[in-house]
Symmetry: C2
Amino acid sequence: MRLNIKEILENSEKFINKPVIIEGWIKTSRSSKKFGFIELTDGSCFDTLQVVYEDTLGNFSEINKYPISSSLLIKGIVVESPGAKQDVEIHAESVDVLALSSSDYPLQKKRHSMEYLRTIAHLRPRANAFNATFRVRSLLAFAIHKFFQEKGFVYVNTPLITASDAEGAGEMFQVTTLDLENVPLNDEGKVDYNEDFFGKETNLTVSGQLEAEAFAMAFRNVYTFGPTFRAENSNTARHAAEFWMIEPEMAFTNLNELMENAEEMLKYIINYVLENAKSEMEFFNKFVDKNLLNRLDNIVNNDFGRVTYTEAVDILQKSGHEFKYPVEWGIDLQTEHERYLTEEVYKKPLFVTDYPKEIKAFYMRENEDKKTVAATDLLVPGIGEIIGGSQREERLDVLEEKMKNNNMDMETYKWYLDLRRYGSVEHSGYGLGFERVVMYITGMSNIRDVIPFPRTVGSAEF
Amino acid sequence: MRLNIKEILENSEKFINKPVIIEGWIKTSRSSKKFGFIELTDGSCFDTLQVVYEDTLGNFSEINKYPISSSLLIKGIVVESPGAKQDVEIHAESVDVLALSSSDYPLQKKRHSMEYLRTIAHLRPRANAFNATFRVRSLLAFAIHKFFQEKGFVYVNTPLITASDAEGAGEMFQVTTLDLENVPLNDEGKVDYNEDFFGKETNLTVSGQLEAEAFAMAFRNVYTFGPTFRAENSNTARHAAEFWMIEPEMAFTNLNELMENAEEMLKYIINYVLENAKSEMEFFNKFVDKNLLNRLDNIVNNDFGRVTYTEAVDILQKSGHEFKYPVEWGIDLQTEHERYLTEEVYKKPLFVTDYPKEIKAFYMRENEDKKTVAATDLLVPGIGEIIGGSQREERLDVLEEKMKNNNMDMETYKWYLDLRRYGSVEHSGYGLGFERVVMYITGMSNIRDVIPFPRTVGSAEF
């Protein structure tokens, strides 16, 4: 029977003493005079399967010389394994080469730097750390869909190419079909966008929130999950030009209910990965971050803290701790402040709420004090902010005044204001940077290592 | 108890005679002297819930004047409905306005043209056809993830911004941060891309296949599901500049096994929607395409047909049917040919296989006849091609020769050739245009009406 390694390992008892056919790649191999051992991977799971072959095979002396990553077809019997590592191994009756790997295969069995591995992004998923990372990334993506779908949320694909500059959330990439060597100009010397594909200037989106709000007015609860872009010249371990975001938007929902949803969601997806990626999570805990499983357990088993911005400022000021950026009411909290709060004071995930309106976006709902808005950032130990959200301003007059004060083009946002004209309701939403979550849950410390083919300033390989 | 309409309708018996609080929008309303009736929607499901109120309410005479789409808070009792339409209705004890809708609400209860509704894409999801479409779109997306995840496929997010032109599959959008009014030129008068964000010319991807192949060599079975772009000047009902694609890629898999997977996947997602969107599918069958459910039943309950291109050409030539484009061996089949085969000859979905190599892409595996490649298109009645796939050329020498003949830049594709150097294996993959599937399963006939905010030539609104 032709099986993959996952099928064999998950039902090992069922297959003991049964003949099987498996295909895969050599991860490692070694041999003595009478026996050879191949750790075989076939990509179906993180674990490898040991294949044992004897000198009775005609090609015995050649097998051990096959380069790492050569692809093989193996016929054999599933037998109980004398070793402690796995329940079963394969006793090979034949080991046939599908294709030999070239001997200059770059992933030989030694430590490689993360920087080097980024230059071979097409091969690095075969290395353990990346193999585990991209499996967990896939499981997390599915867990997010599953969580929202089970709650009846409608998945909405908001547009990537946009003619509006969203809320000015960041630098944007321009999208064009104009010939850059012969850009058409109009009489005023400006670019003539009539000749561009969309007949106007277009960019890559930085957020699908505003469009998601329109859909929440029809489907109550919706979520986006798609790529977003920032043309920021930030060469850090946490910034990528292209990344994925999840943006739930919920009608008839206030800030408290938003926080309940966000907390439940995070716990759900962490539990999903802990249950469905045991080998991968053990690998991370052993080789990447020895405190990882503790940290995740702490999240899953504790109620998240809640504190207002005003209280948080008070706590920081009275802490006696010396910060690089001094704390006073009105400042935007820096990473050092956020981490002090969540790591030193609360020692668990923490929602900070009700920020000064001056430092937050125009669409956030003004509180009754007229000084703060119903916004929240979720801070987590070890990383800082992981979620940003708010109750949205649903009052047409308040929103219009704020947009005028921000010198926004009311005509561009007329459709957004329409949502407040035709049956406006209390609603809230948040944004979750997918790569930040993957980093947080795997312990991987550079965003370039949790994206299959990362795009950062100066780099768009493959 | 505060509930949404979906919760009440799905467990109606449980709530009979219980007091509930619901929020929602007026879909329609009418009243007599003593009774008023509101069809309330809250977005939680496609169905509305009837709210009955009596003249004993203090605001009885006002309620009927509330404009359509006003948002309400209703307290009342769940009671058995005397009408046949639904099991239960709400007997209101109070009807309070959250926000009145403006009386110029564009979606009054009358027929609107699809063209007009596209101009109010922020409101059209409140109209039945779009409400049903975007619900089904969401369910289909989830069903696709569920299908592949249950089979152990790893979801991979391939890059959107790319420096390669993929396989020249179509016109591309350029992505840039250069100032178009002052494009920097080098000594040769060419654009100086050193000053662009990525230090080179970049575009929006037309396919994630090549990167997915790299991941299949590490994870055996993978799939992409993300946006792709074509800057084609095609103003048709089936072309959008931005659309979503699913691209599974499977190692140790030949063309036959690919077809089995594709057939199983399509049946799975159709069944998922038939089970989970009964009201929506009945709506489509009644108002959009009266043959829809028949057509889908036909797909789910039949084995798909298989025919080689060579046999198909023979069938078409002997059919006696007069085609606009004459049929001879070597031509690319036109939609008229495809539809004749699947609608008139086979009357069910049909895999056509083994196309002439000249009309197919460089990466498709050459058959032993040296004239054809192991490619397949899946044709379905009513729409034509819905899936295109192939076994990939895994032989390094054959692939290199083909790329040279195609004048491809070997340095750009060195990484792709590496996949054949380091343990090459038989592998296959296909592409599924998500919007085409949504159109096919809903009966909606214009791609602009199955995308929340469509991007087409000359149009990037919202």
